[in-house]
């Protein structure tokens, strides 16, 4: 057994020989049992990273280790829900779940899958092609959870769900993770919906890792300071600073205590993410512990 769900070492992916680098020298480690948010602007490489982890495509540089093996070795123990929720449109909901059972005969948990579908009051005889986007998301999540995976990879899972379904499905997903210790990795660009649900963060920008590690540690490593525009932020690493009239607002990584006349506050997840996105040149910060140090 390993306590590492995903480990990337100098991971890179280029789609065509001279094409754009979708991922570039990404190095991080994700321990098992975490709920990790993969955040970044469009085109940052979120979907590429998830597809690589799911073994659907192979890296052009570096290595990726999933649950102690290669992505294809881990395929039985992971479930992946792609952004476009590919399902067979001509099958009914019931037939889709039966297909899930037949493709995963040893591990299939019909009760879990049916509970996810039942929460949406879906007719088992309805064809997939007649369902709305949100209903299709629900069926795709039912298939993924029914597989009882050790690692669940979700690409924009909640994008087309209404607020009620979103809350209910996120609750089910996390309850399942709580009970079985499933590692959940989900991408989103709606940061607010991840706050409170995730305990790990992977922030991507232009194919590179900007921030990675436990969310609490990342937040604690940053301080939001306000003070006079003439103030000196001395030894601290400034991620972003803005001046409005005589006032300066900055997000810094403090080195030593932030003294003087500065007002300080801990940033929210949204403030942390937005500041980094507005400042692409800010240095990366990795706080994920190496495997030896993990419990």
């Amino acid at each position: 057994m390993t306590d590492t769900a995903i480990e990337a070492a100098a991971l890179g992916k280029r789609f065509r020989r001279r094409g754009r680098q979708a991922l570039d020298s990404c190095t991080f480690r994700l321990p098992t049992g975490v709920v990790c948010a993969v955040v970044g602007p469009n085109g940052a490489g979120k979907s590429t990273l998830l597809a690589l982890a799911a073994g659907l495509t192979t890296p052009t540089e570096g290595t990726l280790t999933i649950l102690g093996g290669t992505p294809s070795e881990a395929r039985e123990r992971l479930a992946y829900v792609a952004q476009d929720k590919p399902l067979h449109p001509q099958l009914t909901v019931g037939e889709t779940l039966r297909l899930g059972r037949e493709l995963n005969p040893r591990v299939w948990d019909a009760a879990v899958a049916e509970r996810v579908v039942a929460g949406g009051e879906l007719d088992p005889d309805a064809r997939i092609s007649t369902l709305s986007g949100g209903q299709r998301s629900r069926v795709a999540l039912a298939l993924a959870l029914g597989k009882r995976p050790a690692l669940l990879l979700l690409d924009e899972p909640m994008a087309d769900l209404d607020p009620l379904a979103r809350h209910q499905l996120m609750g089910m997903l996390l309850a399942d993770a709580a009970e079985r210790g499933t590692t959940v990795v989900m991408s989103s660009h709606v940061v607010a919906e991840l706050e409170g649900s995730c305990d790990h963060l992977l922030l991507l920008g232009a194919g590179r890792i900007r921030l990675s590690g436990p969310l609490d540690d990342l937040l604690a490593a940053h301080t939001l300071v306000t003070g006079p525009a003439t103030g000196d932020l001395g030894p601290h690493t400034v991620v972003e600073s803005r001046t409005t009239g005589r006032q300066l607002t900055a997000l810094v990584r403090p080195r030593g205590p932030v003294g003087g006349d500065w007002g300080t506050a801990e940033p929210s997840l949204e403030e942390l993410v937005l500041s980094h996105l507005r400042s692409p040149e800010a240095p990366e910060l990795r706080l994920d512990a190496p495997e030896e140090a993990a419990v």
């Binding site: 709920v35 609750g171 996390l174 409170g196």
Partner: protein
Amino acid sequence: MVEYRIDRRSGVATYVQIVQQTKQALRLGLLQPGDKLPTAREVVEATAINPNTVLKAYRELEREGLVEARRGLGTFVRRSLGAAPADSPLRAELVAWAERARGAGLEREDVAALFTAVLDEQFTEHQGHQEHEGDRA
């Protein structure tokens, strides 16, 4: 059984909200020794918050000696908190005082400000502890 209400916009860390709401329930006698706290699964399913956050809150309550985890059974209340259950004479006095304040023409905010000021004056040490909790939020 308590039900937790998580306010994501409050600026108070989620685990601190669970700790505070549990303590509030203990103070008011809504939770009593021997009562079972909801399982992490139940809390997570109802609130869609991170399971590790619930466990962190329960560990904090356990560290303070308020609850104990019994393997395979759940988390149970060990002792209650404070000397002011919902039906105590102190509460009745406070109700009477609030009625007088209202009779004297004070608004809700005036009363809250007055009450907070007196709390700060009388419980400086306790206040420091609260601030410490806030720091980690």
